[in-house]
Amino acid sequence: MTLVENPLTQRTACTALDALLEILHDNIDQYLQLVMERLAGLLETAPLSVKAVVTGAIGSAAHASKENFLPYFQPTMNRLQHFLVLTGEGEETELRGITMDAIGTFAEAVGKDVFRPYFPDMMKQAFQGIEMGNARLRECSFLFFGVMAGLFGDEFAPYLPSVLPPIFASCRQAECGDENDIRMPSSFIHHRTKLIRSFLWQFPILRRLFLHLVPPAPPVSKR
């Protein structure tokens, strides 16, 4: 817990805490108060990137503690709501997405009757997330819709006409931003995309090496 307070280690410490909380199940009860006090404090003070991890950890705490999360639900919602209106790129997007995920988890933990007052408002936020033109935010909104539908059942039905068009559109969108720009040997990218990508991004040197092995298809014409 001291590591969570130290700016040098808090990000990593919260990631570890998140993983731990996720598997703690009922055993979380004895730690819940302590954990929530510390994390709630960080939501106010920590830098954005840490807030994202903290929010994720709170989501895990809610998931593990189920109805015991109830006392913390409302105060946490009040704090998190500010994150749902972030419109910046990068860290802000990440925080907004994680917040959406966490709120879905809270809803499952506290049940539909407690969550109902927030339901219409959060749906509105989710729709706005779709409008932001960011794949990650759309993903979080879709997940949120799934959670809400599971929770509210018939009560979710009025939203279907506005929920489905974006989902259908998502299935049909092209995956290459500029199709004519790049033609890679498709067999190469097609498999293990994520793996290769994360590798290359971590090691610029590998990225270069890769370039030598597989030169960009048509000679790079300038833009």
Partner: protein, 104 residues
């Protein structure tokens, strides 16, 4: 562009190429999952959309990203399961006596 500039462009192109797939592919994966979740949660309310949802899912089946193929397949199965639930199926009863020699 000088030599350095050239390298930068290559890097940029490569970045863009990889950026391409993962974020949007994961989004599609979730979108595919969500359709079945919505159907099984809202049941009959989903009927007006079920045909289009099925078509979209079938369209995703040959996708090169295995996560999407898996999501689309399991969503289609979930749709079948939900339809079965909605048909008010009679409780399954063990029965159907096996008569030996019948299959000869």
């Amino acid at each position: 562009m000088n030599q350095n500039g050239n390298v930068d462009i290559e890097d940029l192109e490569l970045d863009k190429m990889f950026e391409v797939n993962s974020a949007v592919a994961v989004e599609k994966e979730i979108a595919a999952d969500t359709m079945a979740t919505l159907f099984s949660a809202t049941k009959a309310h989903f009927f007006p959309y079920v045909e289009q949802a099925t078509l979209e899912l079938v369209g995703l089946l040959p996708h090169y990203y295995e996560g999407i193929r898996k999501a689309a397949t399991s969503s289609l199965l979930e749709i079948i399961r939900t339809f079965y639930d909605l048909s008010e199926p009679a409780e399954w009863q063990p029965g159907g006596a096996v008569v030996s020699g019948q299959l000869s």
